[in-house]
């Protein structure tokens, strides 16, 4: 790389590609002497427009904002909410609407596209929306809430345009409680990405969702209601449909006004003309992303824009990277239906052959397009089942390596041919990572799993569609390198938890001695003993402190409390759904006061009391159990709490009784032992105040019932839960959760939370849905039965302990001096409560006294 420097760089536009450019610039030149100003007209920092529809699944605008690291670089300035008004190419400066003048040495246009709307009469009526920006989706949600309140009924929605975004918009209307009709001028849905067979298969699936599909029809006029806003839509077939809310998704056009007005070359079909270096007709001006016209075509996807951003950064430092059009694939998302395609969809290549397989029972359609000798892959169309999309797309224009029909055969026909991708094939087109880079990360950078490779190469971190393929490459490479991916739990058990679970279940083993005798060696350890304890408990083999089970419990399970840093314990009774009576609240206060415990409200809507000595636990719990409390299992790898919002009972916006459902769920799964702790949330409306999508199981109320999401997590690796099933009634909801939890308990690894388990489940959510909702494996009844057994056999662990003198023996301070207790415990006072004292602090062994110590400043 030469010593060329970019100088003062100005980017016009604040979208995803501008973000990519800023990020790339900072990474490429961490110490360079340049400045960057990014000017965006939207009122927020660049956000993830690709996943905009997730706003309707409860993802907040803030959560959609892209990584803010580039904006904290002192050389970078991000200007938002101000539009560039004109370019002064002679003076090399841009002037914004607010009067800001920004001189540049290099100008990068990244203005993106705008949503084109046909000049249909009535498009200016209130209630008519585009579907492109955060403002669009926020406005859409507000409109539907306000208008349906005013009209006193659910709204009729209509979407003009049956492309990927139009279908996303239609699904969004449904999520917001409106009905949806999709009006498409072409003869099929997704007419740019799907052939006739694929379009027909998609129509069936979309119609199944309750969305009305009208193809070969145009919207000719929108009519107003008596009070002004849109109410009807006239169609070209002469019919009129109700339309209280209308979304236009009829294509995008490059935003090239600034370039046009300043005299830069513009493409025939719009867009700023650029060559392979992404330079425009002015040598100091570059254009990237959807506003750029390369080979007379403007792109409509983020991946090419990201590639262009990389090219320009490289060029600015004197590099020679150039842009070339790369195969674009499209995947439908945010709708809950799978459809994807890539390459020569319509077999326009001379001599191209099409091999297709349509299954009207499974409602799938798959087509491969290959060269005339059937050797080279030219394209593919997949609807209903897109497993092949991510594995075959990288092979575009390369030898397929097997008979095309072998790929399309229904499952059970011997599995997919194995495909060994050449090193130069791009696996992740969002981050532009090749198979070779992935293999190198495993072989030379020490990556041991997909997570490592994601962190190291960024592959799979944008849209995630390549993760299945990534996983395959990583595992194959590990195996080739002779790294056996060991699943051994510890030196005593050679198998992983899931395998051991099945063995214990099938063979009916009931004690640790039996289990280690049959399948392990030695005497166990702190790793395998709690795992076996959890498995035996999950299978319903008695109280955790029963007989031999007691000896293998971790200290927390052993004394049914959670050990704190000084060796005392916390006490956390169950407060189902976060709902507690004043009387019970007072009991907690009295107990905490009497025993000198520190009280605080936990994140799970419960009250924790800290500082209980092991010998005090039975006395404390006796008081609690007598007052009607039961164990909250805050110490166990089990259900912790079900968090809820206040719901329909009090909230003006609630559409279902979230507290009632939370209580019902908590009472059902209380005490259920699992591979790791799990948490559940229930929100009474799409506002999602219970933060349910951050939980292992998230339940969100809809007008029609409940949506259930799975695999969410907070903590070290936050993850939003994915939609598993929609609009369930109460019983349907419980059945899906039953099966999800039972299946997780059966097949997850040791200490594997649901988030990675869901993420790593082969085939992901669509496959899980088939297993849990459609019951394709035929294990539904078995899973239902195992959960019914749990519900049946539940007993409160603390009540059972208090009733059994044998179990109470362990709660002794010293086996030879039960009347004394740990003299080393030392407490001091802070904010009116006790905490363990640090060395040198004024302290007392008795927390009741320590609470009133004066704090030395």
């Amino acid at each position: 790389m030469s010593t060329q420097t970019p100088g003062r760089v100005v980017v016009v536009g604040g979208g995803m590609v501008a973000h990519k450019f800023a990020d790339e610039l900072c990474r490429t030149s961490p110490d360079g002497d340049w400045t960057l100003t990014v000017i965006g007209d939207e009122p927020s920092a660049p956000y993830d427009r690709v996943h905009l529809s997730e706003y309707f699944d409860g993802r907040s605008p803030e959560a959609l904002v892209m990584d803010q690291t580039p904006w904290s670089d002192p050389r970078v300035t991000l200007v938002i909410g101000d539009a560039v008004d004109r370019l002064d190419l002679d003076q090399r400066a841009v002037v914004t609407r607010s009067g800001r003048v920004e001189p540049y040495d290099n100008l990068v246009l990244a203005t993106g596209s705008w949503a084109w709307t046909p000049r249909t009469e009535g498009t200016d009526l209130p209630g008519v929306f585009s579907y492109r920006t955060m403002a669009d989706v926020v406005g859409l949600r507000e409109w539907i809430a306000l208008r349906s309140e005013k009209l006193g009924r659910p709204l009729s929605g209509a979407v003009v345009g049956g492309g990927v975004l139009g279908l996303e918009a239609a699904a969004a209307l449904q999520k917001l409680g409106a009905s949806a009709t999709v009006v498409e001028f072409a003869d099929r849905l997704m007419n740019v990405q799907l052939d006739a067979g694929g379009g027909e298969a998609l129509r069936v699936l979309i119609t199944d969702m309750g969305i009305d599909v009208r193809t070969a029809t145009g919207a000719t006029r929108l009519g107003p209601a008596g009070d002004g806003p849109v109410a009807t839509m006239d169609l070209s077939d002469g019919s009129t449909i109700p339309a209280d809310v209308v979304v236009f998704s009829t294509g995008i056009r490059p935003r090239d006004r600034l370039a046009r007005e300043s005299g830069l070359a513009i493409g025939d079909r719009g867009g700023v003309v650029v060559g392979p270096t992404c330079r425009t007709s002015d040598t100091a001006v570059w254009a990237i992303g959807e506003c750029a016209s390369f080979e007379n075509e403007a792109t409509g996807l983020v991946a090419p824009g990201n590639a262009m951003a990389e090219v320009v950064v490289d060029q600015l430092f004197g590099g020679r990277k150039t842009y070339e059009r790369f195969p674009e694939g499209t995947k439908l998302k945010g709708v809950g239906i799978d459809a994807a395609s890539f390459g020569d969809i319509f077999a326009l290549t001379p001599g191209a052959l099409e091999v297709s397989f349509s299954d009207p029972v499974a409602k799938t359609y798959k087509k491969l397009v290959v060269s005339d000798d059937a050797q080279t892959l030219l394209g593919g169309v997949f609807v209903g089942d897109i497993a092949l999309y991510s594995s075959l797309r990288p092979l575009l224009d390369r030898p397929l390596g097997a008979d095309p029909s072998a790929f399309l055969a229904p499952e059970g026909g011997g599995g997919l041919p194995s495909v060994d991708l050449p090193d130069d094939v791009v696996v992740c087109s969002c981050a532009n990572v090749t198979a070779g880079t992935v293999r190198d990360a495993v072989t030379h950078q020490g990556c041991m799993n997909v997570g490592d490779v994601k962190a190291c190469t960024k592959a799979g971190t944008v849209c995630g569609s390549c993760v299945p393929l990534l996983t395959k490459i990583v595992n194959t490479t590990l195996e080739k390198n002779g790294i056996a991916v060991s699943r051994a739990m510890c030196e005593h058990f050679e198998m992983g938890r899931a395998e051991l679970f099945e063995l214990v279940r099938h063979e009916g083993l009931r004690t640790f001695t039996e289990v280690i005798g049959a399948h392990g060696t030695g005497r166990g350890c702190a790793v395998c003993k709690p795992v076996v304890a959890s498995i035996l408990s999950s299978l319903g083999f008695g109280h955790v402190l029963e007989r031999e089970h007691a000896a293998i419990q971790d200290t927390n399970d052993h004394v049914l409390a959670n050990m704190q840093k000084d060796g005392t314990y916390s006490v956390v009774p169950r407060v189902p759904g976060g709902e507690i009576t004043p009387e019970r609240l007072m009991v907690l206060g009295e107990v905490a006061q009497e025993f000198g415990l520190h009280t605080r409200i936990t994140g799970a809507q419960r009250i924790a009391m800290f500082g209980a000595r092991i010998d005090q636990l039975p006395d404390i719990w006796k008081r609690l159990v007598d007052a009607g409390f039961e164990s909250g299992q805050a110490y166990g790898k089990s259900l912790r709490a079900v968090k809820s919002c206040v719901g329909q009972a009090w909230c003006r916006f609630g559409v279902q009784d979230s507290v009632g459902m939370a209580v019902k769920i908590e009472m059902r799964y209380r005490g259920l032992r699992s591979p790791h702790k799990f948490k559940i949330g229930v929100s009474g409306c799409a506002r999602e105040c219970a933060e349910a999508r951050g939980k292992d199981v998230g339940v969100i109320a809809t007008e029609k019932g409940w949506n259930v999401y799975v695999g969410g997590n907070g903590g070290f690796t936050p993850r939003h839960a994915d939609l598993l099933a929609e609009d369930l009634d109460d019983d349907g909801l419980i059945r899906v959760i039953d099966r999800f939890l039972a299946f997780y308990i059966r097949s997850a690894d040791r200490l594997q939370r649901t988030a990675p388990w869901v993420a790593e489940y082969p085939g992901g959510i669509p496959e899980l849905r088939k297993v849990l909702v459609d019951d394709v494996l035929g294990i539904g009844a078995e899973l239902d039965a195992s959960m019914a057994e749990h519900v049946e056999s539940y007993e409160d662990e603390w009540r059972a302990t208090l009733d059994d003198p044998e179990k109470l023996r362990r709660f002794v301070s010293f086996v030879n001096a039960p009347d004394q207790h740990d003299p080393d415990l030392a407490y001091t006072s802070e904010r009116g409560q006790v905490r363990p004292a640090r060395p040198g602090e004024k302290a007392d062994n008795n927390p009741v006294i320590a609470r009133h110590l004066e704090v030395r400043k």
């Binding site: 702190a526 200290t555 050990m563 840093k565 060796g567």
Partner: protein
């Protein structure tokens, strides 16, 4: 001859589990192993400073019998007190105490034994002391 101090009945202890005891003012952790052998180490976990080792899980590592700290999961040989896994920290051994079963009673001597350092051959003149 150091006196054996009576702690409790063997039946007061659960196989493969520990209990805390006070030994002339010192807190110790007494463990009953599978074959009714009893062993004793200090109760204080040197890594956390809390008196909790009696509540750790007992198990095996190869042919050694081990106890894991319930706090941060360090591992010791429960017979000798030798630290086998310091979980990334500087290893710290435990004091161990002679223990036996006599007439169904668990007895311990109040003599803290420390782990014999394993000297490297040639490192100093006192090899084999």
């Amino acid at each position: 001859m150091t006196a054996w101090i009576d702690v409790c009945a063997l039946e007061d202890l659960v196989p493969e589990r520990g209990a805390a005891a006070l030994l002339e003012g010192t807190q110790i952790a007494v463990f009953r192993l599978l074959d009714d052998e009893v062993v004793a180490v200090q109760q204080k976990d040197p890594f956390s400073g809390a008196n909790v080792l009696s509540r750790g899980l007992v198990g095996s590592a190869g042919d050694r019998t081990i106890v894991s700290s319930p706090m941060y999961k360090q591992v010791w040989d429960v017979r000798t007190g030798e630290c086998l896994d310091a979980a990334g920290k500087t290893p710290q051994d435990l004091a161990s105490y002679p223990a036996r079963v006599a007439d169904g009673r668990v007895e311990v001597q109040a003599v803290a034994r420390v782990v014999e350092p394993v000297a490297e051959p040639g490192a100093d003149d006192e090899v084999g002391r």
